[in-house]
């Protein structure tokens, strides 16, 4: 890697423990239902479960057959059915139907539902309403955290985003609080907690309450600082096209639970290959955070190195050859395999992304971020919609336009929406309603300049009753204030200067030097200032809800940054992108921090927008 970072960077805690805990508890729960049983698993739990316990482990604990929950009548003949599900009403209803069907057929079975990570009262109500409460036993598998990599942990709850930010349903807040509490009890105590956003505050409070209820342990902290941030603080960043390698792979191939399936076009054979993408993969580890334009250079260098390593064989005597085969060859072969896969993937990305339209798309995005030639951008978006190029991309550009311009002019708003509906159908009327509610795609209020808006927001924040009102409908009243924020925080590096993507000078490299992600910039600023002082203007534009709390443990040594003090847990509520993770890794290397990213799920522009579509239900 080109940048080695500071040598005094602290060591990351070991998160393998989280997996062991989850596994032990799952086994315990399975044992609670002795005897052979069939296990039904929620489709989106399959991959996370696989990371914790494979099929062999499940079989060892008398799981006979495995099924995916597909909302169809079951064919299982087992006397015991066990369901491992997320606490969703729909799934519980399906189970209740199974029980009732069995009852009608006079069939007696035992049913057990294991909710993960917790059960909700609403689910039990459904069981009760369907009259099967007594026939089913329920349990909770406290599987809150899945380590995706040594610095990335996911709650694997993609629905957090929609439920919390669109539906106003706060049920996952406690879950997030419990997840934080789990980390706190294993790797804490945390000495300082910063946060930004309404949900962040609630999660903080939920966690705090759990800490107070539990017993206090004194142990050497492994994680010192925590930063909680809501996704709706920064929607711009996840809506931009990703151009670092890992982000691109996610955008194009969709990384699922830390692993990706490369299709035939990558493997250049007729079968697909599943690859784990993490720091264990040496090749990937070197290129994941790189801007895509550098990746080929790295890969070819790597190929040459590999060749040299292979070439060592020549001129070896028998003994040397023996050690070479025993010790190095396997590693080399493995590396070789991975290298060819990543080269394949890169070629595939190249094919898709070096096309003219992608370049223009990026250009438009950058213009929007800079607020430059907006009319041209609108024409581009219009053409994009008219030519039906991509449903999601068009939507993404519309949202970016609205976010960066603080809403669309009424004329544009109507005409772009109308054109979009012509292209993709009337059902998107509901999508637009959702986007409006989220403040992602809104109409500019006529006659309102930025300053007027600002003072209005300021007034609302001061006035307590009105503050409550805005709380409830915060997303309705929300203005992104992106332009002003970007000016104040200098998110857009000066244009005109040459930006060497090989030697990045700031986090903007993850967007080809065009934009420093707002979320990461906030984190940087707050850590630098050790709080929000001096950022009052910024927090006001972000609708407030910022906080910084020093933990109960004595932090006399804040001046001298001990190792745990420099380990920062960043929790994204509503998901984060691989680009943001890359930016934080960069920031960590620059400033001598180690960031651990804890997210409700890994997201990207497509996932984020798909969650807001209404016609998929």
């Amino acid at each position: 890697m080109a940048h080695t970072g500071r040598r005094d960077a602290p060591e990351l805690p070991d998160f393998a423990l989280l997996k062991r805990l989850a596994k032990d508890q799952l086994i315990y729960l399975l044992e609670q239902l002795p005897g052979k049983k069939d296990l039904f698993i929620d489709a989106d739990l399959m991959s996370p479960l696989d990371r914790i316990a494979n099929v062999t482990t499940l079989k060892q604990h008398e799981v006979d057959k495995l099924y995916k929950v597909e909302f169809k009548p079951v064919v299982s003949v087992s006397d015991q059915l066990c369901f491992l599900i997320r606490p969703r009403i729909q799934t519980v209803k399906w189970i209740a139907d199974i029980v009732n069907t069995d009852k009608a057929a006079g069939r007696v079975r035992r049913y057990k539902i294991i909710f993960t990570p917790q059960k909700f009262y609403a689910c039990e109500t459904v069981l009760e309403e369907q009259g099967v409460y007594g026939d089913v036993t329920t349990d909770e598998w406290a599987f809150y955290l899945l380590p995706l990599d040594n610095d990335t942990i996911s709650l694997e709850l993609p629905e957090f985003f929609r439920d919390n930010f669109l539906e106003g349903d706060q049920r996952w807040v406690t879950t997030a609080g419990s997840a934080l509490h789990l980390l706190h009890s294993l790797y804490g105590p945390f000495s300082k907690v910063y946060g930004m956003g309404r949900c962040a505050k609630m999660v903080y409070e939920s966690w705090r309450e759990q800490v107070e209820e539990g017993e206090q342990k004194t142990q050497q902290p492994e994680i010192g600082n925590v930063f909680l941030i809501d996704r709706d603080v920064d929607f711009v960043t996840p809506l931009c096209s990703q151009v670092v390698y890992e982000g691109l792979v996610d955008d194009i191939f969709r990384i699922k639970c830390g692993s990706v399936e490369f299709g035939p076009e990558v493997t250049s054979s007729d079968k697909s290959i599943k690859v784990m993408l993490n720091s264990q993969d040496k090749v990937f580890n070197e290129i994941r955070n790189e801007h895509f334009s550098n990746v080929f250079g790295f890969l070819s260098q790597k190929a040459r190195n590999l060749q040299t390593a292979y070439d060592k064989r020549r001129g070896m005597d028998i003994q040397q050859m023996k050690t070479f085969v025993a010790e190095e060859l396997k590693g080399l072969k493995q590396e070789h395999r991975l290298l060819s896969l990543h080269i394949g993937a890169s070629e595939c990305i190249m094919k898709k992304k070096t096309k003219q339209d992608f370049q223009e798309l990026l250009k438009t995005e950058h213009s929007l971020l800079e607020g430059f030639e907006v009319r041209e951008c609108i024409s581009f978006i219009e053409e994009h919609i008219n030519r039906q190029i991509s449903m999601i991309d068009s939507l993404r550009l519309l949202c970016l336009l609205s976010l960066t311009e603080n809403g669309l002019l009424p004329k544009d708003y109507r005409s772009l929406k109308a054109q979009y509906l012509q292209s993709y159908g009337i059902d998107h009327l509901l999508t637009f309603a959702n986007l409006k509610q989220m403040g992602l795609l809104v109409e500019q209020q006529p006659g309102e300049t930025l300053t007027v808006m600002e003072s209005k927001v300021g007034k609302l924040v001061n006035d307590k009753t009105a503050g409550k009102l805005t709380d409830a409908f915060s997303s309705l009243a929300k203005k992104s204030n992106f332009r002003a924020l970007s000016k104040r925080l200098v998110l857009i590096p000066k244009s005109g200067e040459e930006y060497d993507l090989r030697v990045p000078r700031d986090m903007a490299y993850i967007f080809s030097g065009a934009y420093i992600p707002l979320s990461c910039k906030l984190i940087e600023q707050v850590l630098e200032r050790d709080g929000w002082t001096g950022l009052e203007e910024v927090t006001r534009m972000l609708n407030g809800h910022e906080f910084a709390v020093t933990g109960g443990t004595s932090v006399t040594e804040t001046r001298i940054k001990t190792d745990p003090q420099r380990i920062v847990l960043v929790m994204f509520l509503g998901g984060c992108t691989y680009s943001e993770i890359a930016a934080l890794r960069f920031l960590g290397r620059e400033k001598g921090y180690k960031f651990i990213v804890l997210t409700t799920a890994i997201t990207n522009s497509a996932r984020l927008l798909e969650a807001l579509l209404e016609n998929q239900v």
Partner: protein
């Protein structure tokens, strides 16, 4: 000090001692004569019921409750039925078992708590005898009726009555019986003459104690040890048989030479006891019988009661309270006359040291030579624990402390703990408190239970002092005591709500882990709702407030608190409760003011009750959401008419919401659907459900140009879109002729570069070239490059003198084949650059 052994009596290899605990503080006219007496173990309270048989309303018997030292705690006339037996529960509640089988429960201070019955069948036959017993499962009650039937409840807090099987040949009350706790079950052992039976839930089994002396014709008394491990039987021949409670082993048999049935008999053992022994009481004297043939006897001058303890027997008489126990090994070693045990030597050494005599050194040396100093210190510490006199305790502890000085690595904990424990024990043994606990009992019962006992006695300051002194974690210690205090405080009816709330919050302010909701619940139970609400205000965890608020029917407040707590499950609980309690209108109104609860309920309705969702929007006049609701509903319909009907409703709602964009879009959709349907019927082309764009594309693809045109006009499709559509559709069909016609039909709104590019995309360079000339000058270079015409591109670029474009062309030229071109371009580039 010299008299420590004065009250020791040898029995076999061990000694027994009788120590006075208190001179009783009560003044009883007739002592304990004609009294029902119950004293709780572990130095618990004493209950007296004088002349229980008296029934006349003019002279009711008096029920009195005293501490172990005879301090009055309660006294009141007994107005209920005839009491057969008194007993104490493990939490210091008094059980009064009546003749009719009713059991009344009172607290320490004589206030009635509750009652239960030992079964209906008791009624006629009446209770003839009852026993209260303690087991790991709580406090139990066993009764025997006049019909010789036993009924048993193992835990009165979880009442399950067991009627035991009949005993063959038993008529009337049995002579003697006892309750055993074996195999996790309570059983009754009953004697009928010389026959013994064990009654469990299922059966009545005859048993015989091994080696019972054959002279006996009847068993007249029996007792079970504190731990239920040992059993003693007294026969009419005057023999005491001692053995294991499972009747498998005999320990010893002693002949007492007294044939009268004893008044009371109890085991007198201690953990790690050296010999089993029982204490037998007759009217005039007391006898201790052990393994050997000898016995120890004490005269009795007053009616007394024996209270078995874990490590001895307490003897309560009208004037005194004494403890009879086997002298603990450590004490015996130290104080036995002429003992050479290390502890004894150390004590001696310390005495000499205090006298400043050098003999101290000799003694010490003697212990040290045998390497027993550690042992000596340990003995002194242990012995101190067993002594009740503070002076003796001090002497022993001083000796231990002295010995400790000569040891380098002696762990200090046992010594420190003993000092602390003794301080606590001496405090509770004080006459005013009256809990004569021994150290052994204290360790068995734990500090927590001791604190509880003090709390039951309302000795809050002492309890708090002890918690602080022993550094008990606040959560289990001080906070718990304060909570009990507060619960007691809220029952003081004479004080105003405001005053009580303030007092409580002042006292409890600092303490950790206080649950105000529990205190508030107590207040509510006492009928003080207002006070409860005031107290709840202090509860920092809003979640804790909710259940009580619901119970008090403050549902609105409960909902607010639930929302405040951030726990959605709690919010949901309240919502469900409200849904059942209120009428629909009020329910919706309530939700309307609470967005958090509303969104939660909406989420639920989305899956469970679609219609309720509609009602909710209706109630709120939320026409926008209603419109969305109908649009969504329209997807689910398969029939066109139904779809259109839903959409029409949506249009109406959108109109009401003044969202003319949405209403127009929906109207257009209805039009489109009708159009699609019509065409589908006419042309057999699947169209329904397509977007406008897709519909036009499909029409163009199958050559229905006229219809496509019609849609284009009817729906005011932007020209650009239509041109793109037609262009791609024609190119896809490779209908080049039609394309050319189309291109010429009028001036293209999208320019001609797309024509070039689309043709190239379909690999028709020939056609593409046709449009190159039409392209605007700015796009010329691009167009030429697209068709692969280097010359043309170069010409265009040079003509425009645009440096960037020239470079683009240059980068596409290959230096070998296009050498001339490259030169020309380079030249042009320099000129362009000069400008």
């Amino acid at each position: 000090m010299a008299f420590v052994t004065a009250n020791w009596n040898p029995l076999g290899g061990t000694f027994y001692r009788k120590v006075e605990l208190y001179e009783m503080g009560w003044s009883l006219k007739d002592g304990l004569r004609e009294c029902l007496v119950a004293a709780a173990p572990y130095g618990g309270p004493i209950a007296l019921l004088k002349e229980p048989q008296r029934r006349s309303p003019s002279a009711r018997p008096q029920l009195e409750i005293y501490s172990s030292s005879g301090v009055t705690m309660a006294s009141f006339p007994w107005k209920s039925g005839v009491v057969k037996q008194l007993g104490w529960t493990v939490c210091d509640d008094l059980l009064c078992i009546q003749e009719d089988g009713t059991v009344l429960i009172y607290d320490l201070f004589g206030s009635f708590k509750r009652h239960f019955s030992m079964g209906n069948e008791v009624g006629q036959s009446q209770v003839v005898e009852a026993k209260v017993f303690h087991s790991p499962y709580g406090t139990g009650v066993a009764i025997v009726t006049g019909a010789s039937r036993f009924t048993l409840a193992t835990n009165i807090d979880d009442l399950k009555l067991r009627r035991l099987p009949e005993v063959p040949g038993l008529h009337g009350a049995p002579i003697c019986w006892a309750v055993l706790s074996q195999d996790r079950q309570s059983k009754v052992l009953v004697a009928n003459g010389a026959d013994l039976f064990i009654l469990d839930y299922a059966a009545c089994t005859a048993v015989s104690p091994p080696g019972l002396s054959p002279q006996a014709t009847s068993i007249v008394h029996m007792c079970v040890s504190f731990s239920y491990k040992y059993l003693a039987l007294f026969t009419d021949s005057g023999h005491v048989w001692m053995g294991s409670a499972n009747l498998k082993e005999k320990l010893s048999e002693v002949e007492t030479k007294v044939r009268d049935p004893p008044k009371q008999m109890t085991w007198c053992r201690r953990p790690k006891s050296q010999q089993p022994s029982v204490v037998i009481m007759w009217d005039q004297y007391l006898l201790v019988a052990g393994e050997c043939k000898d016995t120890v006897s004490y005269p009795l001058d007053d009616v007394s009661v024996l209270v078995p303890e874990l490590d001895g027997v307490r003897i309560i008489s009208g004037t005194h309270h004494e403890l009879l126990q086997e002298v603990p090994a450590a004490c015996e070693e130290i104080f036995k006359i002429a003992s050479m045990a290390p502890g004894a030597l150390l004590l001696e050494a310390h005495k000499e040291y205090e006298k400043e005599s050098q003999k101290a050194d000799e003694y010490l040396r003697e212990i040290k030579e045998q390497n027993l100093l550690g042992e000596a210190v340990k003995q002194c510490v242990e012995a101190a624990g067993h002594e009740l006199e503070p002076e003796t305790q001090k002497t022993l502890l001083r000796a231990a402390s002295f010995g400790k000085c000569f040891l380098s690595n002696f762990a200090p904990e046992p010594f420190v703990c003993m000092c602390r424990d003794l301080r606590v024990l001496n405090a509770v043994r004080d006459y005013t408190v009256g809990i004569p606990l021994t150290h052994t009992q204290f360790k068995q019962m734990t500090v927590q239970v001791l604190i509880d006992r003090l709390v039951y006695r309302k000795l809050y300051p002492l309890a708090i002092e002890i918690c602080r002194y022993l550094k008990t974690p606040e959560y289990q210690g001080v906070s718990r005591v304060l909570k009990h205090w507060a619960c007691c405080k809220v029952q003081q009816k004479e004080e105003a709500d405001e005053v009580i709330a303030r007092t409580i919050s002042l006292k409890l302010g600092e303490a950790a882990g206080i649950s105000y909701s529990e205190i508030a619940t107590k207040a509510y139970e006492c009928g003080r709702t207002e006070l409860a609400i005031k107290l709840l205000e202090f509860e920092p965890r809003s979640g804790e407030q909710v259940p009580l608020l619901l119970k008090m029917k403050r549902s609105q407040l409960a909902l607010s608190k639930a929302i405040e707590s951030g726990d959605t499950d709690l919010v949901y609980t309240v919502v469900t409760y409200l849904k059942n309690e209120m009428n629909r209108g009020d329910f919706f109104m309530t939700l309307r003011n609470k967005p958090v609860a509303l969104s939660l309920y909406r989420q639920f309705c989305k899956h469970q009750e679609q219609d309720t969702l509609k009602d909710l929007f209706n109630q709120d006049d939320d026409h926008q959401e209603l419109g969305n609701f109908y649009v969504k509903a329209s997807y689910k319909e398969r029939r066109l008419e139904a779809q259109i009907a839903h959409l029409q409703s949506a249009v109406d709602e959108y109109n009401k919401a003044k969202n003319d964009f949405a209403s127009k879009a929906t109207e257009e959709q209805m039009r489109l659907l009708r159009f699609q349907k019509k065409l589908e019927e006419e042309k057999g082309e699947a169209l329904v459900g397509f977007s406008l764009h897709d519909t036009i594309r499909t029409l163009l693809a199958v050559g229905l140009h006229k219809q496509a045109e019609q849609l284009y006009k009817d729906f005011r499709v932007p020209d650009k879109r239509y041109w793109w559509l037609k262009l791609t559709a024609l190119a896809e069909k490779e209908d080049w002729e039609e394309l050319e016609k189309f291109a010429k039909s009028k001036k293209s709104p999208i320019g001609y570069l797309p024509f070039v590019e689309v043709c190239v995309k379909h690999h028709n360079r020939y056609e593409a070239k046709k449009y190159v000339s039409k392209v605007t000058p700015e796009q010329k270079v691009k167009a030429h490059l697209a068709v692969g015409d280097m010359e043309g591109a170069a010409d265009a670029a040079i003509e425009r003198r645009n440096e960037g474009e020239i470079s683009t062309v240059l980068s596409r030229c290959s230096p070998t084949t296009d050498r001339a071109l490259v030169e020309r371009l380079n030249r042009a580039k320099t000129t362009a650059a000069k400008k």
